[in-house]
């Protein structure tokens, strides 16, 4: 059952999440998750065929931080900016503390001297939990539509 205000809370969480990624505040990204979390970026083809390989697999907040460290200090890539468009929320509260959220997303990417292009599109299949600090992701599964991606997906979506 949807309690009054929950939809607003959820939409605010996703707006904040998108802003952190779009405004290059990547260090904030792990803070949207609880310690014992799961983040996966997986092509639809694998997901529907129950093939477990993911492009990104993080099984803890530590692994999310390792992703951030890689983007910041070990990975080589052309500079880029992002725009996340997230919508079409379907919200199902299992309890007051556990909320299933499905939403669609599109990530636009802009490289230097190039046009803005679609970098990734898919759906989030998330488990949001209520913590003393506010709503956090316990699970965030990003199932993207085309297994074929334009070169590199460096940043989390």
């Amino acid at each position: 059952m949807l309690t009054p205000g929950l939809r607003d809370e959820i939409e605010a969480l996703y707006a904040d999440y998108a802003e952190a990624l779009d405004d290059n505040e990547l260090e904030r990204w792990p803070e949207f998750f609880v310690e014992d979390c799961l983040y996966k970026l997986v092509p639809r083809e694998n997901w529907e065929r129950k093939l477990p390989i993911a492009l990104m697999l993080c099984e803890s907040k530590g692994m999310l931080r390792d992703r951030v460290s890689a983007v910041r200090s070990t990975a080589l890539y052309a500079p880029r900016t992002f725009r996340h468009l997230i919508g079409q929320f379907r919200i199902a509260a299992e309890t007051q503390e556990r909320i299933r959220v499905r939403a669609n997303y599109v990530v636009l990417q802009t490289l230097v001297d190039d046009l803005t292009r679609i970098q990734n599109a898919g759906k989030y299949l998330d488990l949001v939990v209520r913590t003393p600090e506010g709503l956090r992701f316990q699970e965030k599964i990003c199932v993207f539509d085309s297994v074929l991606v334009p070169n590199s997906l460096i940043y989390p979506v």
Partner: protein, 416 residues
């Protein structure tokens, strides 16, 4: 930009620059005519191209769509356990009849005029062949058996499937040669495989840059901060570069080292002694293959990279998309008897690989930088002198010998 647009089209025959294998002309990465000749001589020539793992098509009627060069093919298992590689092109009007990525069928039917083929590509039936109400139909001398799907030669080894448009080429074993076969069998040792999933990326660069990259141990110690820092592949570690007799196939072999500075790491700006993983489970490799090597990257002419880095195993198949793009199709696998812990380890280590890989994403990016730098300068050439100007096996990483080996074969096949 095409050479044609620059007014530099093939008014004169292409000539390899002076300097032999120590120079690579940039027009081989940009010229459409070169690309077409490569399709004809290399991908449709007497080469064994990787197309599938048998584990992807375990049952009769199972098929996958894939490519040899840029030609669409279907790989299908028949009722007798045989595997066919069929050109995905109806013999009637050229329709690419199979549109599903994978599936199971009893026969193939082209949707346009419903010509049907069995799983070996034999034409079974043509609707209205005898006409309708004594009108129309195929001529009396039309013979079904002259209109089968084009069948490629197929070779199978330890769960991997290769195909060739040429029917006149050596066995896969002779094609690989004893040294490369030994490395191939090290990972594909005959145990049943388990497919773990796919990654695919379209890289805006010429396909040969991918082969150069995996034949180039020199860059690995410099570009890949992650590899270097965690000692997964580094010039100060015991290593080897080996080729077959022709130079077309090669392996880079190395042993994992430690994350502490030494004489070898001093020149590696990318070595970060203080970099630590917040969750070290990401890198928790266990030894599973005989011998001391912890990484063997094998490149098999003309379209396959067999990846064994720690416990992450994958077939990386190249699909050419014109002179300036290719798709890299990754099929990750383990073994049917893997424990759940081993599967999880392989999934974690896959974070190093693919379009989002801590290591591999560097390569995708750098190849596009290469293409961008090369594109407008077809008459210039790149330099390949690290480790000398010849082609020979080495027991170190500070060499570009395997790239020279690749171009030795390339020039022979292309007549350049």
């Amino acid at each position: 930009m095409d050479d044609w647009a620059l007014g530099l089209s093939n008014a004169q025959p292409r000539k390899w620059p002076k300097g032999g294998l120590s120079r690579v002309p940039y027009w081989i990465y940009t010229d459409r005519d070169v690309y077409r000749a490569e399709q004809e001589r290399i991908f449709c020539g007497p080469s064994w191209c990787y197309v599938a793992l048998e584990a992807e098509i375990p049952n009769p009627g199972d098929f996958i769509r894939t490519y040899v060069g840029d030609k669409p093919v279907v790989i299908v298992r028949d009722g007798e356990g045989g595997i066919s590689a069929l050109l995905n092109r109806c013999a009637h009007r050229g329709v690419e009849f199979c549109q599903q990525a994978h599936g199971n069928v009893r026969e193939f039917m082209c949707p346009y005029h419903q010509w049907t083929y069995d799983l070996k590509g034999t034409l079974l039936g043509v609707p209205f062949r005898r006409g309708v109400k004594q009108q129309g139909g195929m001529p009396a001398d039309f013979r079904l058996e002259e209109h089968n799907l084009t069948r490629l030669a197929v070779a199978r080894r330890h769960g991997a499937v290769f195909a060739s448009f040429s029917q006149d080429l050596p066995s896969l074993e002779d094609y690989l040669g004893p040294r490369m076969l030994g490395y191939f069998d090290r990972v594909l040792d005959g145990r049943p495989l388990r497919v773990l999933g796919y990654m695919r990326q379209r890289i805006g660069a010429n396909w040969k840059l991918m082969f150069e990259n995996i034949k180039d141990p020199y860059h690995a110690s410099l570009l890949h901060v992650f590899l270097v820092t965690f000692g997964l592949f580094r010039a100060d570690q015991p290593s080897a570069v080996e080729m077959d007799e022709s130079g077309r196939h090669s392996v880079l072999v190395s042993m994992r080292g430690e994350q502490k500075p030494n004489e070898g790491t001093a020149e590696m700006k990318s070595f970060k002694v203080d970099f630590k993983l917040a969750d070290p489970r990401l890198l928790d490799p266990v030894r599973e293959f005989s011998g001391s090597a912890t990484v063997v990257m094998q490149t098999l002419w003309p379209n396959l990279i067999v990846q064994q880095q720690s416990n992450t195993l994958a077939m990386r198949q190249l699909v050419t998309r014109g002179p300036r793009a290719f798709d890299l199709m990754w099929t990750f696998f383990g073994y049917a008897d893997d424990t759940p812990q081993m599967i999880q380890r392989r999934l974690r280590q896959a974070n190093l690989m693919g379009p989002s890989g801590f290591v591999s994403n560097d390569d995708g990016e750098i190849m596009e930088f290469s293409q961008a730098g090369i594109d407008a300068f077809p008459r210039d050439a790149g330099v390949l002198e690290m480790g000398g100007r010849d082609v020979r096996n080495e027991d170190h990483m500070v060499t570009e010998a395997a790239i020279r080996g690749f171009y030795q074969e390339y020039r022979r096949v292309m007549g350049l």
